[in-house]
């Protein structure tokens, strides 16, 4: 008999796909820097640790954690495969876009193994103990992928000779991960409400605090909040605090001029909405006590698929300011 089961696969759920990019820039330091510089020059260097030769080099003795003297030694370029695995379906993160092998490669003269890839046409050409040499990339940056791949044989495949350049001190590593996140029922309901021009929350049946419609729990009482707990919120309030942000042009930042984010205490109930945008208010006019009302997206704006939501922000009502000095304490 043969039975198997996997739970949960059949459940139908709305998911939203999002890709998070991680554009890391890292300084390399006094040991990895020279190693990467050598790669740009189509050379491998290792570091001496007592009687051992360690490649890729480390700053510290792997046995004692003592800082190692910067005693570098050339190794390779050819080496021996100590072990390997076969990748039949490469991902976009891999250096090659066709099936290849990962391998631990002990470069000639080194006592430890470098992890890299071997470019062969099929798994049949891979074996433990085989000899490999690097195929260098034409455009080298001082990066582990300056070696395009190792290939069978003794001879390195070099490009443009090995011209020494500037020392490499930084490296980029641009990773990205795509997630398919299930969308909770509360999030769907929150979205539906704003599409209808309604501001709604969820009221805890125990402590009666009101939370954002997509929150799902009262964290105080650890009570799950659902449709039964929905309450309508007034669409007017008062600014209790604010910040003016001067945008730094990090990846993904679309703002170029200073802009404000305000905390809005909603009328009649004890709810503060945090980091709300103001509409058509110059940053020099933003102040505590300003009376504001919700601005919803127009039909044309709603049709723009790129819009993050239907609540555009808050606009002054023109009413006199609230001058209660304790307002400034209400930021949450």
């Amino acid at each position: 008999m043969r039975t198997s089961h996997e739970r949960g696969i059949a459940e139908v759920t709305i998911t939203v796909e999002s890709t998070i990019k991680f554009p890391y820039k890292r300084s390399l330091g006094p040991v990895i820097g020279p190693f990467m510089t050598a790669l740009a020059e189509q050379r491998f260097i290792a570091i001496r640790s007592g009687s051992r030769v360690i490649c890729p080099p480390l700053e510290w003795d792997p046995e004692t954690a003592a800082e190692l003297p910067r005693d570098f030694v050339d190794v390779g370029p050819a080496g021996t495969v100590c072990t390997w695995s076969w990748v039949s379906r490469p991902t976009e993160q891999h250096p090659l876009d066709r099936p290849f092998a990962f391998a631990l490669i002990k470069l000639d003269g080194a006592d430890t193994a470098l992890t890299h890839v071997v470019d062969v046409e099929s798994i049949d050409q891979m074996s433990t103990g085989m000899r490999v040499a690097p195929r260098w990339r034409a455009e080298r940056l001082g990066h582990i992928t300056d070696v395009e791949a190792f290939v069978p044989g003794e001879e390195a495949i070099t490009v443009n000779g090995g011209v020494p350049g500037e020392p490499v001190t930084m490296m980029s590593y641009d990773a990205s991960i795509t997630y398919k996140i299930p969308v909770s029922d509360n999030t769907i309901k929150a979205h539906e409400a704003t599409a209808q021009g309604r501001l709604v929350g969820l009221k805890c049946p125990v402590c009666e605090r009101i939370y954002a419609r997509d929150r799902g729990f009262c964290p105080i009482d650890t009570v799950e909040l659902t449709d039964d707990h929905e309450v309508e919120l007034p669409q007017r309030g008062v600014v209790t605090s604010y910040t003016i942000i001067t945008p730094v042009q990090y990846p993904g930042q679309t703002e170029t001029e200073p802009f404000s984010r305000v905390m809005v205490l909603i009328d009649e109930i004890d709810v503060v909405m945090m980091y709300q945008p103001l509409v058509d208010v110059p940053v020099e006019d933003v102040r505590i006590g300003m009376r504001v009302a919700v601005v919803w997206a127009s039909e044309a704006e709603k049709a723009d698929a790129g819009r993050p939501g239907n609540l555009v922000g808050w606009m002054p009502t023109g009413e006199p300011d609230n001058t209660d000095p304790s307002l400034a304490n209400r930021i949450m």
Binding site: R2, C82, W86, F102, Y173, I177, S184, P219, T222
Partner: protein
Amino acid sequence: MSRTRNDDIAVIGWSVSPMERHTAKSETQMLLEVVSGAVDDAGITRADVDFTCAGSCDYVAGVPFSFVQNTDAIGAWPPKSDSHVEMDGAWALYESWVRLLLGDMDIALAMGSGRSSTSDPAILYPMEMDPFYLAPLGADHANLSAMQARTLIDSGMLTERQMAEIAVRTRRDAKSNPLAQVSGDFDVEELLAADYVNAPLRLHDMPPITDGACAVVIARADKARELCENPVWITGFAHYTELHNPGMRDLRSSTAATLAAKAAGVDEAPIEVAELQASFTHEEPLLVEAMGLGPEVSVNPSGGPLAANPIMATGLVRVVEAARQIRVHGRHRTLAHSSSGPCLQQNLVCIMEGD
């Protein structure tokens, strides 16, 4: 062994979520349920818990500071003494145990949660690797593990057939585990006829992708006695790490696992059951040998991580399964193991005993 010192600490309650290929629940929702389950099991409320510690990973969640949202599950008002590790929940339990050893608190709750179904493990796992030498190659957990498996095979320590036999045994054992995701009766020849995923690993050598969470309540001796009729005593708890880069280690063994087992007292008395975080078939015999476990020890009767692998909770589930062997199945002394990092880099061992 007599229990007279209040420094002794016992497991007094736990809860494990359903193990699912895809859950529609958020990590916070999963945690809400297992924390409720664990405090119920211990006969207490959240208000009785003095210290909480969670194990989870932002890269898995796809949300920065995801552990902040997860505190919604612990009832942190009035404020609680709380901590978090970007590690499996087994390490959260270790921190909780150390915290209780200080003596000023009586009850702690450790949890672990992961919803790894939302992304591709081959893309996700390089993020835990060395950012200079490994991650930019897209070197992932499965490929590095596959290289360790080949090292064992090349050394004559293991065959692909023996690996398939381990998969058959764990899947069969998992049939009696209501929480198992992968279970059933399989044939070694059929498994070996399948294509490789990452040669020399086939699908049966690898853990399933699982969403899940787990929570465990521990207490100091006096409180444990007061609350619980059959506390499960933690008699040894240790973890060790070795070099991150697999190319700089002897992959035929795991020194860190050997040291952790010794420090936890593995050889002080017989072990009856070992629940090991052997996420790949070849890791099981490697760990059994590294920890000095004899043939009399029953290994992963729950099916282990090959039956369900809720990453960030897989190790904590091992603690629960080893504790269950004492509380439910009447064993006297069991061992739980957790691991983290490529090719068993970090290893944790928790040894437990009944009265």
